[in-house]
Each structure stands twice: as C-alpha cells, then as structure tokens.
C-alpha cells in the first residue's frame, strides 16, 4: 500500500533480516506509512471534513505558499524571472564561497576582502535606510566571513578563480537591491505570512552555534577534575560548607534579606557538593534544565522576563541605573522577543546532552598526542587548536546535524505556551504555523505542504552540513 516494500531479497543475508526486522516493521508501520500519507496529502485538499470530497489539486498548495501573483502579469514576467535568477545566483555564490575556502582555490583571499567590503556596505546601507535588522545581521555575517577568509592561513593572494564566488555575491546582491522596488510593487506573495515565519525560523537558529560553543566550553571546564582527596577530608569540607550555607541563610532571614541569604547559602552548598563529589555534582546541576523541559520551565521564564516584576529587568535596572520602564520589554517587544527566546533556549540546552557528548569525546583524546605536543613545546592554545578540536570533529559534526534538524523544526512549544506566536507574529516559526493550519484552520493539505517544504529546507541544510562536515573532517 505504501509502495516502499524493502522486503530483502535473496542476496541479503538472513542474519541481517533477522536483526533488522523488529525495528523495520515498526518503522514501516509507524513512521514510513504516515510520512507517505502526508506526502500524498500535500497534493490534495484534505481537510477533516468528511463531507468535502478528497480532490487531487496538484501543486496548488505549494503555489499558495510559495508563489506570487501580480496585477499585471504580462509585463512583470521579466522582473519575476530576473529576481528569481538573482536569488539563485546569491545562493550559488554563498555555497561556492565556502567551497572555495575549503578547497583553497587561488585568489580566495581577494574574494574574502571583497566579501568584507560587501558586508560593510550592507551594514551601512541598512542603517542609513532604517531597514529591518535582519539585513544588519546578514551584513555582519558577511563581514566576519570575509575577515575570516582573509586572515586565515589557507588560500593565497594570487588572483584566480577564487574571486568568482564573491563577484557572484556582489552582482546578485546589488541586482536584488535595485530589483527590490519593481518586484514588490508588482507582485504580492500569495502567503506573506509564510516568508515572515520562515525568517523567524532561520533567525531563531542563530542561537545554535552559541549553544554548541557553550556546551563545548562547559565540557572543557568540567573535564579537568578537581584534585581528589580522602573521603574524610571531603566529608569535613562538605559539612563546613553546608554549615556556612545554613548560617548565611539564617543571617539573611534574620536581617530581612532572606533572598540574598538563600542565594549565598546555595552557593556554599554548591561549593560543598563540588568538594565532596567532584565534578559529577556539577554535571547534574548543569543537566537540570533538560529534565524539566515543559510547561513549568515556560511559566518560569515568562515570569523571569516580566518587564516590571521580573528579576532580569530589576537586576538590569539596578546595575545600569536606567529606569525599569525604559528597559526592553523582552517577550512583549517586537524586537526583543526572538533574542529572549534564543537566550532561554541556550540556557536550557547548554548543560544538556551536547555537553555530555563533548565530555565523552574529550576523554577520548589520546593522551600520547598531547604529551608529544608538549614535548615539542606547544602552547596551551596550540594544543587546543591542533589536537583537541580535530579530535572533537566527529562529535561536533554529529551535534551540528542534529541541532540543525531539530532547530528548524522547533519553536512550537515556546510559541504555544509562552508567547502565542506574538507579539504580532514575531515568535511564530514554521512549525507553529503548520500546527495552526492543521488544528485551527483544519486545512490538512496545506499543513502537509508546509511540512514538506520544511523537509526540503532541512534536507538541504543537512546535506550542506554533511558535505562541509566531511570536508572539514578530511583536513
């Protein structure tokens, strides 16, 4: 019924079938079948209604999502074609840029400098024209990419084909700049909300590298165990710390600064736990947020971000002296809603599974390599850069892929529980949009189309990740 019958044939050894079968049957039944059904549904007008006959509508859902329509179709055709070609050129330029860096094409460094200039000009024009700060971010990224390539040891200054990607970027971006007005004067997207939410989804992915770096940093921190000592000594230290903690709590309560006393008391307690149980205690503490993911954490953070009574704003106002009313309104503010979510997401994820994976990988780094490097007189930084990081590459690669797949599908719970997708659609991601389409508008066909477009995006992102990851690994 689903057409994907991978029933093993004669040349597949029996043991393979045996081992694979339990999992595979479940896979076919609970994973493959619904997936195929949803693919079919994306091409129909499926709604819940038993009264509406199921019709095949071809690409209509996809057109509704991604397409444009124009009031004056005849003349505008050229504009549309040129716009789309420029977008394709832009994407090609970006991919080739990274490729040229990895493959060390000639002239790649000149290309890097060109990218720098391009990035700077984007930033300046963005500020001058007060456009949406997404452009500023894009400019900054280009600038950094340009600097990164220019100062790296790879590639050469000699002119060569390495310049081509940057030229592509310059051409496409300038063309888009000029085409922008004619395009949007004549065309309106069929579903403007889709693009807005696409932007949101990509924006929210910005926190991913920060999270990965953070997990790495934490893993590095916790990797070197604290000096061990005898059991009795540890017990004594723990008791001392616990005692100090209790004392500060009591003092705090007594003097009316109960909260401060409690915080200091807990600090003593954490110190004591560390001395007694070594780093295991900290690994548990850092993993805490991952345990309680869910409604409780959302409520918690909603209260923390409260612009009037939340400790974040109260603390900021105290530290910087600005009045509370002038501080950003975090989740209710159009500009700050997404950064707030990114911060919260990082907090939750930073001590989680990624950190543990890194810890394990770190302890796999062969000690003899490090010793050999020390004998050669390498500094700490060099040891880190040339030994540790490459050894961690496979783990980083795995984490990157899973983060991309998960991140592009995320945002649903936060939007549903914390922000309702607001303010004014600022925190709605494609996942949440899909969810609304399916369960509010009951338009399942449309929702399936969104899901498959998301699949295409995730697939491309993962494929790129995979490709570049393999390149990085090779070196």
């Amino acid at each position: 019924m689903d057409g994907k019958r991978e029933k093993p044939g004669f040349h597949i050894p029996l043991p393979a079938i045996g081992f694979l079968l339990p999992n595979f049957i479940g896979f076919l039944f609970f994973v493959m079948f619904p997936v195929i059904l949803s693919l079919i549904m994306a091409f129909t007008n499926w709604t819940i209604n038993p009264g509406v006959p199921l019709e095949y509508v071809g690409l209509r859902n996809f057109n509704d999502l991604l397409g444009m329509h124009s009031a004056i179709p005849a003349a505008a055709g050229h504009i549309y074609a040129s716009y789309v070609s420029c977008v394709i050129l832009l994407l090609a330029g970006l991919i080739l840029y990274i490729w040229s860096y990895l493959r060390e094409w000639e002239g790649v460094k000149i290309g890097g400098t060109v990218a720098c200039i391009l990035g700077l000009s984007i930033i300046i024009t963005a500020f001058a024209n007060h456009v949406n700060h997404g452009f500023v971010l894009a400019g900054i990224i280009l600038l950094l990419a340009g600097i990164g390539v220019s100062i790296s040891e790879k590639g050469s200054w000699k002119p060569g084909i390495g310049i081509i990607p940057s030229i592509l970027l310059v051409v496409s971006i300038s063309a888009l700049w000029f085409l922008n007005k004619p395009m949007w004067d004549n065309f309106t997207p069929n579903d403007p909300r889709f693009w807005k939410f696409f932007y949101n989804t990509v924006y929210l992915m910005l926190g991913t590298p920060i999270g990965i770096f953070g997990s790495l940093a934490l893993a590095l921190l916790l990797n070197d165990r604290l000096p061990e000592s005898a059991l009795t000594k540890r017990a004594v230290m723990f008791l001392i710390c616990a005692g100090c903690g209790f004392l500060s709590l009591v003092l705090g309560l007594g003097s009316g600064h109960g909260d401060l006393g409690l915080v200091i008391g807990i600090i003593w307690l954490i110190a004591g736990l560390g001395l007694a149980f070594n780093v295991i205690a900290y690994r548990t503490i850092y993993y805490l947020p991952s345990f309680t993911a869910g409604v409780a954490i959302m409520i918690l953070w909603k209260a923390l971000y409260n612009p009037q009574t939340g400790p974040i704003n109260i603390g900021l106002s105290y530290l910087t002296g600005t009045a509370i009313d002038e501080l950003p309104k975090w989740l209710s503010s159009f500009t700050w809603a997404k950064p707030s979510l990114i911060f919260m997401g990082t907090w939750v994820g930073i001590g989680g599974m990624n950190m543990l994976l890194y810890l394990a990988a770190l302890s796999n780094v062969p000690q003899d390599l490090i010793d050999a490097a020390e004998v050669d007189g390498a500094s700490r930084w060099q040891k880190f850069r040339h030994i540790t990081i490459p050894q961690l590459a496979p783990t980083t690669f795995f984490i990157c892929i899973m983060s991309v797949i998960g991140g592009l599908q995320g945002g649903l719970e936060q939007a549903r529980v914390m922000t309702g997708g607001g303010p004014d659609g600022a925190t709605t991601t494609l996942s949440y949009y899909l969810y609304n389409m399916a369960f509010q508008n009951l338009n399942m066909g449309y929702a399936s189309a969104i899901a498959w477009i998301m699949f295409a995006i995730i697939f491309v992102a993962t494929a790129l990740n995979w490709r570049f990851g393999k390149e990085l690994e090779v070196e």
Partner: protein
C-alpha cells in the same frame, strides 16, 4: 547483558499484567456519554444532576483541547458532546462536518431556539441549521469598583452613559486619587470584545447580508477601531500590551487583567456575569462592586456582543439520541437553577432570568447588580458568519490587526481595515472558486452564476 534484558523484559510484562488487572472498571450498565469541556469542578455537579434525572445515562467529563478533539473526530473516536465556546468555533466545526445538524430533532426534544433567547438564534445556527444549544449565555456589562471611584471622586456611571462619559471617567483614574495612587481605568482582558461591543453599538456587522463581502472596512468599523486605538494610546484608559506584560499575568485565559480588577488595582472591567465564578476567590471584593450596562456611542443605542457556550453533538457519535437528552436537560429549569446559583453567567432558559431578583445568589445578593445583565440580553447581538469563509480564520486575521494596533501607536486604521477587508474578500472569492458546493450556494443567494475572475 543478555540476562539483564531477559529479566527486565520479564519484569515489565509482569507489571503490565498487574496494571491491566487493576483496571477493571465495574460495568455500571449505563450508557456513557463523553462530554468535552473545560475542567471546571462545577461540571461534576451538573452531570450528577443529569444522571439523577436520566437513569441509565451517565455523562463523563474530559478535556476539550482542540487538537485532541480534531484528531479524534477525524478518526471517528471523538466525544459525544462537544462544548463550543462561540459562534466562530461553531462555524469552523460545522463546516468541517464535525457536528450533527440538530434541526430535525430540536423541537421534538425541546431544545430548539424558541426555548432560549430569540436573539441567540443566529448564534446557534450555521446557514439556517441548528448545531448547538447553550449551556450558559450572556452579554458583557461594565463592573466597577465603587471604592476606587470614590477614591478619585468620579461619579458612578448612569445606566445610559455614553462612550464620551466613559472616556472622561477613565482619564481621571490616571491621576492620583485621595489615596495618592493611580489605578488602571479598564482591565481589558480580551481586546476583541471591547472593539466588537463598540462596533455593534454603531450598528455594525461582519458581512453584507449575502455573506459575500466583509463590512469591516465600513466607516463604523474604522470609527470603532479608532476609538479603541485612542483609548489605549491617547487617553491611556486601556493598558497597552507592554503594561499588561509588566503586571502579574497569573491565571488562565486572559485572566491577568481579571486578577487586577479582583485585587483592586483596576477600576472597571467589561465582562459577563460569569465573573461571579472568579469572585468567590476574592470574598472581600463582593461588597465593593456594582454593575452598569455598556457605554454607547452618542446617538446610537447600546449594544454588545452576545455569546454563549453551548455543546453540539458529534456527527459520528454512537449515542446520538441519548446525547440529545443532554441538550434537553440544558433547556430545563433544573439545570438553569444550577447556573443561576453558581453565577455562571445566565441560564439558557429566559424564564429564570427575567429580572435582577431572580438572579440573586450567595456571592452577590444585591439584585441591582444582576439587573444590567438581564437588560444586556435585550440589546446584545451575536456574531454573524458567512457561509463562504471559515470564521476561525477571519478571527485570527482580526486578532492580528488588533495586535498591530496595540503595538503601533499612530497606525493608520483606515488602511489597516481596508487591507483586512480585502484579504477576507479575496479569500471568499478563492473559496467559491474552488468549491462546487459554494458556487451553488452563490447562485442560490444571488441568482447569478459564479464567474471566476482572473
């Protein structure tokens, strides 16, 4: 390792068997009707009474979460009785084919629209067919805090007051009163209602009579939204979203502002009689409050949104007949008395709420408090829906525009509303274009054939 797996597998099976055995529910021999509603403890009392009046039937309450409902109904396993919170939701579900058309059975079993308020008829029907019957109903009034009014030296509102009076009074609360404090003039917890109440007072409707065009770009709509905008950004009577976020948001559906009013931080609130349910948690508040009808625009009669919460019956229910007995129960005096007693807005049966005295309950014993709610029923009107578009989708678009007004002071309301109306009209055209059934409906409404435009 292998041993570990075998042993743990065995243990799991044992636990599983044990768990299954402990589940044997005694078969009461009654037919069980499932009612999807919210987890309000009052439901248990209502279903218990139903069980007593209808031996052999039992109603169990379960969560009415929309996603769950839809997924279950899509596969034919939905609950028998589905609570619907407004005409918008009813429109959506009816058009999705989830609800049973009650029209053939209604008068026989005693829950046709004549058993409740006549003005409610449109709220219970989609396209002339009845799909639900109210559990409770009501329109909004303004409840105000007498102590705060005294504190700022503001006169109590008169029953016939206008929007201008309302604004004048509201502005005073932003200046410190005798106690030195300012108060929030209006605790608006659902901005949509404030806008609609005003729009209705101006005589507005959502669609033209044939349901083909949206009337949300009419001058009345623009005026209503402009007034809302001014109340929020110019006169500062309605707190803007930032102020709302800045205060405690404790509570479920929009009840942050409800809590402000209940704890004496806000002077007024526009709400239905179901506020009494919340008032039980704040016993000291009861003696401070009084109520008055909604303010009206000068030169127009007062009006407001009429709504009800009412269950419909799942089109695929296996116990349709029995489930309909539940609807008859709702029309009865027994059930209505429970609603009056618990203060859960007004009962569907109008004979139980003819004046303030009949509505007195233990939370607020002053009949004058309940009277405006009775009066509101005479002037409130329900939402009008169009057969050509999904009401829930339109609702989302309206909410979006309202959010934009709230977040952008000085926004051009006329352009906003024209854009909204265009979006709705385009969607209507697209819907008709893609559905033969709607094209026939178009023909029956206008007498002309549908001509798709390019």
């Amino acid at each position: 390792m292998k041993k570990l797996f075998i042993i743990s597998g065995f243990l799991l099976l044992v636990v599983y068997a044990f768990a299954l055995m402990s589940f044997k529910k005694p078969d009461t021999g009654k037919i069980v009707l499932r009612w999807a509603t919210d987890p309000n403890p009052a439901r248990k009392v209502q279903t218990k009474l139903f069980g007593e009046l209808n031996p052999g039937l039992e109603v169990t309450v379960e969560s009415g979460a929309m996603e769950k409902l839809l997924v279950q109904c899509a596969t034919g396993t939905g609950p028998d009785i589905i609570d619907i919170y407004g005409a918008t939701q009813m429109d959506c579900y009816a058009k999705a084919g989830l609800l049973l058309d009650l029209t053939p059975y209604a008068s026989k079993m005693g829950f046709d629209p004549s058993k409740t308020y006549p003005s409610l008829k449109e709220d219970l029907c989609v396209d002339g067919k009845q799909y639900r019957f109210p559990c409770n109903t009501g329109g909004n009034c303004v409840i105000y805090n007498k102590k705060i009014f005294d504190d700022h030296g503001v006169e109590y509102p008169k029953p016939d007051w206008t929007i201008e009076d309302f604004i004048k009074a509201g502005k005073k609360f932003n200046e410190p009163g005798k106690s030195g404090q300012t108060h929030i003039p209006l605790a608006s917890f659902y901005p949509y209602w404030v806008f609609i109440d005003m729009y209705y007072s101006l005589g507005g409707r959502y669609y033209t009579d044939d349901g083909l065009k949206s009337k949300l770009d009419s001058p009345e709509a623009i005026k209503a939204l402009q007034t809302y905008h001014d109340m929020m950004h110019v006169y500062k009577i309605i707190p803007s979203p930032e102020v709302v976020a800045g205060m405690s948001s404790q509570g479920g559906w929009g009840s942050g502002p409800i809590v402000w009013f209940s704890t004496g931080k806000a002077a007024m609130i526009m709400i239905g009689r179901w506020y009494l349910n919340i008032l039980v948690n704040y016993p000291d508040m009861a003696q401070n409050i009084a109520s008055v009808g909604l303010p009206r625009f000068e030169g127009h009669p007062p009006s407001g949104l009429l709504g009800c919460r009412g269950p419909g019956i799942n089109a695929q229910s296996k116990h349709k007949e029995q489930a309909m007995k539940f609807l008859s129960y709702l029309a009865s005096v027994d059930y209505g008395t429970l609603i009056v007693r618990d203060g859960d807005s007004l009962p569907p049966n109008p004979t139980l709420a003819q004046n303030g005295e009949m509505l007195v309950n233990k939370t607020v014993s002053d009949p004058a408090f309940h009277q405006p709610f009775v009066d509101a029923m005479k002037t409130a009107r329900p939402i009008d829906n169009s057969p050509f578009i999904n009401a829930l989708e339109v609702q989302r678009w309206i909410d979006e525009r309202l959010a934009r007004v709230e977040n952008n002071p000085g926004i051009n309301i006329e352009i906003l509303m024209k854009d909204l109306a265009t979006e709705i009209n385009n969607k209507i055209k697209r819907n008709i274009d893609r559905s033969k059934a709607l094209q026939e409906k178009y023909k029956s409404v206008t007498g002309k054939d549908w001509k798709p435009e390019k």
